[in-house]
């Protein structure tokens, strides 16, 4: 727990997970059409919907379009998502008409490994044919990464997850930076923001490297570097991420309370 004083919030304690999720939620706008990854992205997207972006369209790869769950789904296909959706389509239609069709403005992903150009690995640790750890694989991510208008990533920082060189290119970000992405024929913008438990990172417009633009309250530059496997570039003017508001914390905590109650065995 990081203890802070805050004029705007009645809550003066929050976890780094809460800060990360709330900072991520603030990236989203009401007119976004967001393809939601499970876990931290799903929490961030639903906090946005329940606070400052009430009209945001959330899409899950299970086929649910315009969904508005009261609890966080454990999987990308919980019944809650369908119950509250505008409509539910088949999975082939989801990937052909909706993602590939170019209707998604934001793809919101997590990652097991990421590098400083936003390339993501969720496939394997070690060699593909002789793996140390077999991870779940890409799922929807390879095409979300190339077909959604832009990509936000949210994940906890660690030396294991933020690495100089990922073991496998599951989902392409900016390659080695600059115009690598366009050279491959990819027309979308790619990763533009990384929201961790310590900081907010934005892609540099030219080099495409992630650069720290905000430190979360109570976090130092050293904290960020200690938990990142590459040499971190900080922006010229690094500011402190605004504190979670009372509303944001209430929305997030209430969401988790309902979720936990629902997932408990009866």
């Amino acid at each position: 727990m990081i203890a802070v004083m805050n004029n705007y919030s009645e809550r003066n304690e929050f976890t780094s997970y809460e800060m990360m999720t709330i900072a991520a939620s603030r990236m989203l706008k009401s007119d976004d059409v967001c393809f939601v990854g499970i876990g931290a992205p799903s929490a961030a997207c639903n906090v946005a919907r329940l606070s400052h972006a009430p009209d945001i369209t959330l899409i899950y790869e299970s086929g649910t379009i315009g969904t508005a769950p009261d609890i966080l789904p454990l999987s990308i296909g919980d019944g809650e998502l369908c119950d509250t959706a505008l409509t539910t389509v088949s999975v082939p239609e989801m990937f052909r008409y909706w993602l590939q069709g170019g209707h998604v403005t934001i793809g919101f992903l997590g990652a097991a490994q990421i590098d400083k150009f936003g390339n993501i690995n969720t496939t394997i640790i070690g060699d593909y044919h002789n793996p140390k750890i077999r991870l779940p694989g890409g799922g929807g991510a390879p095409e979300i990464a190339s077909q959604a208008g832009q990509i936000f990533v949210t994940m906890k920082q660690s030396l294991r997850s933020m690495v100089p060189k990922i073991d496998f290119f599951t989902s392409y970000g900016h390659g080695n930076g600059y115009n690598d992405r366009q050279k491959l024929g990819i027309k979308t913008t790619g990763p533009t923001a990384l929201i961790t438990d310590l900081a907010i990172w934005k892609s540099h417009p030219e080099t495409k490297e992630f650069i720290v633009t905000n430190l979360h309250p109570g976090v130092s530059k050293e904290d960020v570097q200690k938990n990142c496997g590459w040499e971190v570039t900080f922006g010229e003017l690094v500011t402190t991420t605004p504190l979670p508001s009372a509303i944001e914390l209430d929305v997030l905590r209430e969401l988790h309370r309902r979720t936990n109650a629902s997932h408990r065995r009866l």
């Binding site: 649910t64 095409e143 390659g175």
Partner: protein
């Protein structure tokens, strides 16, 4: 006499799940048990495990608990998939043990993205030999999976991905309802279940109930009786997955699987008790006390 090609017309027969599995399965087949989180055919997977079929090629976008169970019991020699996790919980530990340690038998994998698998099922349902889509740009799976090729649009020159279509020997799905003629209704998250049935040489559908007539929407997702080989009424057959309108997802069971599957002995003991010594009838019991899922 002229031999008429009769098309892929079937005659849906109502049988027990045990009889359906015995009739359609042999060792070495390519089998899909589909369900995208919703309507996962757990009862069918358990019946296949009990009958001891081996050397199967298992196809599924999201191999989760049931494929972890089948792989751990040594049913499979190959897996074609795009996301092998316990959704929202973590990794599939029996799958990892097979891939990393060849336990209990080696497992060959053919790995795709969801977009590729979804397109491949669509193409299979349309009797296509391959599926064409925009995909795999910059993705390293292209380097490790020889079944991912690139071709160029003959009109624009754009580079496009192409993968073989999926056409299983047998597909198993679970659905909410069948009518007395054998037509099957699927509602809610429909995934690739329709495609799994239409792309397969043979198909087995378990349903929550058999009713007189569907009362539904003109554009409802219905598989006509002449696309299905066998229908078995097995209430609760999707548990711990769910059936929209019948029972909710048992998320606690998904979380518990992470512990059960972490240890070979614990896993084998659990399988003996909860699968090998049971019949399809136990599924009705398992959902009796869950919250009904709102329609």
């Amino acid at each position: 006499m002229i031999l008429f090609w009769q098309g892929l017309v079937k005659l849906a027969k109502f049988v027990s799940l045990q009889d359906a599995v015995l009739d359609v399965m042999t060792d070495g087949l390519c089998v899909a048990l589909e369900g995208f989180t919703h309507l996962i055919p757990h009862a069918s997977a358990h019946e296949i495990i009990r009958k001891g079929f081996k050397n199967l090629t298992l196809v599924r976008m999201t191999p989760d608990i049931i494929y972890d169970q089948m792989i751990g019991m040594g049913c499979a020699s190959k897996l074609i998939f795009s996301y092998a996790g316990n959704p929202g919980v973590g990794l599939l530990r029996r799958l990892r043990d097979a891939v990393e340690n060849q336990w209990p038998v080696p497992l060959e994998i053919e790995e795709h993205s969801h977009a590729a698998m979804a397109n491949a099922y669509e193409a299979g349902a349309a009797s296509m030999p391959c599926a064409l889509f925009k995909g795999y740009l910059g993705a390293e799976l292209r380097q490790v999976n020889p079944n991912i090729k690139m071709i160029f649009c003959p009109f624009t020159g754009e580079e496009l991905a192409v993968v073989p279509s999926i056409r299983p020997d047998v597909s198993f799905i679970h659905a909410q309802k069948a009518d007395r003629k054998g037509n099957v209704l699927i509602e809610g998250i429909i995934g690739v279940q329709k495609e799994a049935v239409l792309s397969a040489a043979k198909s087995v559908v378990t349903v929550e109930e058999i009713i007189e007539d569907f009362e539904t929407h003109p554009n409802a997702v219905i598989l006509p009786h002449w696309t299905i080989d066998y229908i078995a009424e097995v209430p609760g057959a999707a548990h711990p997955s769910y059936a929209q309108g019948y029972y909710a997802r048992d998320n606690a069971a998904y979380k518990e699987w992470d512990t059960i599957s972490a240890n070979r002995e614990l896993y084998l003991k659990w399988m003996a008790e909860h699968v090998m010594q049971q019949t399809p009838d136990v599924f009705a019991e398992r959902v009796r006390f869950t919250n009904p899922q709102s329609k």
